[in-house]
């Protein structure tokens, strides 16, 4: 049966979306991340309320939980690609869709389609909670900055998810991928920030930080949101390309 290529794309995308939507762990992860984020936003807000009134910005506090929030999206990305390799699903996938580069690209696309709204809702809920709680005490922010920061946060979380998915496709096992990524994002990167002043801005997470954090005046050589986005995107593309190259060459 020959099908036109545009129809092929929609069919593959539909299949990949179907696979992702039917994974129970994806929904559990997203729900868990959502609840956890609200809890963290509450903790940061109450810590902020104890501090000096009128000095903090709502955005800084509302987005402070981003550091933890990314863990949920890292799990999401790893799970999307690694679930293919448990129980030999990958062989069924490749029998029905024998174009490997194409298949992995549509998988990333499907993942992005799920991640973008989820990331936006979760990030916005944290900021909204902080906004409601701190309306009276904190410095008022303009709606433009708020939207910019939320868009940046959504973009950052999506890029992180896609990066994790690419690394998951490279390593093919859930546990090592999880250890490597969490170890990097939560241990190596915060520790190395003190030692590598000059190049720290070019790592995926620190560059991504500037995508959503409103610029503060007391830091030197900070990146603009656009530069941060560019660097994060470059990292994601590098790992994505590597994943495709290995995926095409490797035995299933």
């Amino acid at each position: 049966m020959s099908v036109s290529s545009s129809r092929k794309i929609t069919q593959i995308l539909g299949a990949e979306l179907d696979k992702l939507v039917t994974l129970p762990l994806i929904w559990r992860t997203l729900m868990g991340t959502f609840i956890l984020n609200l809890g963290l936003a509450a903790a940061f807000t109450s810590a902020g309320l104890q501090g000096a009134a009128g000095t903090q910005s709502i955005l800084n506090i509302g987005l402070a939980s981003m550091g933890y929030l990314q863990a949920g999206f890292i799990i999401l990305g790893i799970f999307a690609t690694c679930s293919e390799y448990t129980g030999g699903q990958i062989r069924t996938t490749l029998t029905t869709i024998p174009w490997r580069g194409f298949q992995l690209s549509t998988k990333h696309l499907a993942l992005a389609i799920i991640t973008i709204p989820a990331a936006f809702i979760i990030a916005a809920s944290g900021v909204l909670y902080t906004f409601i709680m701190m309306r009276d005490t904190a410095v008022v922010i303009e709606i433009d900055t708020m939207i910019e920061s939320l868009a940046g946060a959504t973009g950052y979380l999506t890029l992180t998810t896609l990066l994790s998915a690419a690394i998951g496709a490279l390593l093919r096992r859930t546990t090592p991928a999880l250890v490597v990524l969490l170890g990097y994002y939560f241990i190596v990167s915060p520790l190395s920030r003190d030692f590598l002043h000059s190049i720290k801005n070019y790592f995926p997470d620190t560059a991504g930080y500037y995508m959503y954090m409103p610029p503060s005046s007391d830091e030197i050589n900070v990146l603009t949101p656009m530069q941060g986005t560019g660097i994060s995107m470059l990292w994601t593309l590098i790992f994505f390309t590597a994943a495709i190259v290995f995926y095409r060459k490797r035995d299933a």
């Binding site: 762990l25 868990g32 963290l40 903790a43 940061f44 109450s46 810590a47 104890q50 550091g67 933890y68 863990a71 890292i74 799990i75 799970f79 448990t86 129980g87 030999g88 096992r173 859930t174 546990t175 090592p176 999880l178 250890v179 969490l182 170890g183 939560f186 241990i187 915060p190 520790l191 190395s192 003190d194 030692f195």
Partner: protein
Amino acid sequence: MRAFNAELSKLFSLPGIWLALLIGAFAPAVIAALDSIAQKEEIIAGVSTRLTEVGYIGLALGVQGVIILGVLAVSSEYLTESSESGGGQQITTSLTVVSSRFLFLLAKAGAVTVISILLCIVAIMTTVSATHLILGEYAPAFEWSKLIGAVCYWTFTALLAFGITILTKNGIIPLAVLIINSSVVSFSVLLSKVTKLAFYLPDRAGAEMFMFTSDRLHTPFTGGVVMFAWVAVIFIVAAIVFHRRDVAS
């Protein structure tokens, strides 16, 4: 004893365990070395404030190795094999051979405990030599009581990871939560800014067995007792749940 040996052999045949051993043995030394290099400049400048915890911070953060160990010990049993090899789970075989569930749990916990104690001793040796190599005469004094505290911290953390994974049966969530929580940006440190109760969380209390935090609440001994109480409670719950649960579901 045979069940214990079997558990040891099962653990060492897991590929992920080598990652755990590698991280556990060398990550503390690397972290301590990096911290020592940063501290050395401050010492020379005469502004060093936290010299006493240089080596111990490596041990506090390097606990990741035993977290992986504890989680993998359980989650590997529940991994479903591919449909080409029968789609079974190791746990059914394990419980066929060692039919007493309590004994099975005890043997597994024993294996995890022994490996984490040995791993922590290795980590202490690499960390102490790394700090001495870099800091020389400035190196902090490593007291035996504190080092034993670090060994207890590692073992309790491994058992905590072990117990939580029995409840969840899947390694991903406990691994993520525990790795983040033992990192620089842990939940408990954040919560301790909100409420004093957070000092009774297992990692916050356990770290006081050997860390010199400025806002400490417990003595090293009570810190250890609080953490042990957490381990005991989680273990009892895990044992009851494991005892009553259907094997593979």
